[in-house]
Assembly symmetry: C2
């Protein structure tokens, strides 16, 4: 679908483009234009009883329960990429962070930092995408904020989403629960998000378009919990990828996660792109993939749940928790040698999320 089709296929932008083709500083200034932008663009798109309270915040009834809170700012470049955009990413990312706490995501806030001169139509596409992603993930965007910075002091759109979710079970999902002999599962093939972004940025063309894996994983986590799987730790594989997530768990838990490289699912085109770009897929960011560390006796049933989830057909058992090297991640390579997996010190891909 050509860009023009995307632009004209959805509902019409509620701010008249002929009057306001671009975001102005005044759209963040607290006056009439800001009120119009908030009401017509945000409140009416994110439509729900709580956002309609039109207050400094949103008030909701919570059960007596453990709640989870999470926040993430999204500064991804470019704003649109195969498989998603900054809007859907901003919903998935925070929904997934809550899911990683074992929580069922309930509510999100949305804070926009817009650069003066941003095309109004671009903002409209992003806002619609956020709402579609929120509906798909079963969350409501209930409160928000809009700031506009002068031209050259931002980069189009930055979005912060913060979220609140409810923990409806007694399972403590935390690195401290990780034990020897637990198994390490991954919810699908890795590396697609990072490579999709990099391909757009570098103008690379592969035989197939590599799409980001950006997706909400909360219903999959709920399915694991509802099935009574003894979940010890969950971690999404965003910045820094599988390796960094697992190293953090190793350090925090003082255990030795061990990986079998041949078991780690990486699509062939992603592997090829990594080789061209000089990346190791272990460190490439994902936005719809997570690690589940579960009790050994639950490995098979957990894996079945992961594999039957949307996008989970490549879910796999990729390793186990050993005793040998506490605080370190080790890996048996495809050729059978064993090595320590180190944290990288710089960054592979700036502004990937």
């Amino acid at each position: 679908m050509a860009d023009k089709d995307i632009l004209t296929s959805g509902p019409v932008c509620p701010i008249p483009i002929e009057d306001y083709p671009q975001v102005l500083l005044a759209h963040g200034g607290g006056g009439k234009l800001m009120q119009q932008l908030i009401q017509k663009m945000f409140v009416s798109t994110f439509e729900n009883p709580l956002i309609n309270q039109a207050h400094d915040g949103a008030v909701f009834q919570a059960p007596a329960s453990r709640l989870a809170m999470s926040t993430d700012s999204y500064v991804i470049h470019p704003l649109f990429f195969p498989g998603g955009d900054i809007g859907s990413l901003a919903v998935h990312g925070t929904v997934n962070d809550l899911a990683m706490c074992g929580a069922r995501p309930l509510y999100l806030s949305a804070g926009f930092i817009l650069e003066e001169g941003l095309p109004m139509e671009t903002l409209w596409r992003v806002v619609q995408s956020m709402q579609a992603a929120a509906q798909n993930a079963g969350v409501a965007i209930i409160t928000g904020d809009t700031k506009v910075v002068d031209r050259g002091k931002g980069d189009g759109i930055f979005i912060n989403t913060s979220g609140v979710g409810v923990i409806e079970h007694d399972v403590v999902v935390n690195p401290s629960q990780v034990k020897e002999d637990d198994v390490i599962l991954v919810s699908g093939d890795i590396g697609r998000h990072g490579i999709a972004i990099m391909a757009v940025r570098e103008g690379l063309e592969f035989e197939t378009v590599i799409e980001s894996d950006s997706a909400p994983v909360s219903s999959t986590v709920q399915a694991l919990l509802n099935a009574g799987i003894e979940l010890h730790c969950l971690r999404d594989l965003t910045r820094g990828g599988l390796a960094s997530a697992l190293i953090e768990i190793a350090v925090t838990s003082g255990t030795n996660p061990h990986l079998e490289e041949r078991a780690i699912p990486v699509r062939e085109d992603v592997q090829g792109a990594c080789e061209i770009l000089g990346f190791d897929p272990l460190y490439v960011a994902n936005e719809g993939r997570f690690l589940a560390i579960v009790a050994k006796e639950h490995a098979r049933s957990a894996l079945e749940i992961l594999q039957s989830a949307p996008g989970g057909d490549q879910a796999a058992q990729i390793g186990e928790i050993r005793r040998k090297s506490p605080g370190r991640v080790t890996l048996t390579s495809k050729i059978g040698t064993t090595r320590v997996v180190d944290m990288f010190s710089g960054e592979q891909l700036p502004r990937i999320c």
Copy 2:
């Protein structure tokens, strides 16, 4: 106190300045440098049991209750100003938004968008200021996020804080509760924050330094609630000032708030600066002032509470709710004429918060 004194008087920056005088892209890249920044700079400064969970989010026990959630991004320029900085502002702003919902603020998240090249020492000052403000306001910063954007794609530091608070009473604080004959109270003199920022930006010098009123108002709101004041509506007077806040209430509630200009407290130096700069103090932003619309019979006791709160000696009754012009704010000027107070359409002061 000279800037150099400020820089050297506090605890030493936990990231060695000689190695990392500036924020690098790698500080947001998901690797070692990001881990160090998060642990040494943020987690150890914001120290509390919840942030130490080192997870994708923070988990806390909530009572069965109404909760309030709020979010705000802070893009103020300059980062430091008389009476505060972006760090203290980011705490006060969100704490106050929660207070305006009638909630006792509990927890904040902090999302940083840093520009590559930001002096590390600047970040350290801001982080310390946030923690001091959080302690003073009785809230804990329990989860966070750090992104770094390339040079020229941000402006030093942007901060998003989102907050959760608990509503421990049955009072519904909402514009829908505003009734004819209610009285309008303001919690102190207005206009100082906006003028303080503008004076720094324009290099203006007055006989006295005008300091921002930036402060948490949550304990004052709790005092009103605890005294059994029949609070109908609360609103903080940030972007757009007193006029915009009251117009929003008028429109939402369909009532006619009426102001007595001579009763509105504006310091003489602020009034003078407004005249020089061409501003109307009614529209100038505040960061520690709020409106309380209360039942008439509680006006006196509410005012006593406001006046005895920190910084509240100029709190005043500035008007009442009338029947005459529903949905409009009217004002009797100092010379006795009555006019409608309109929303301004552009903005007076960009990047004021």
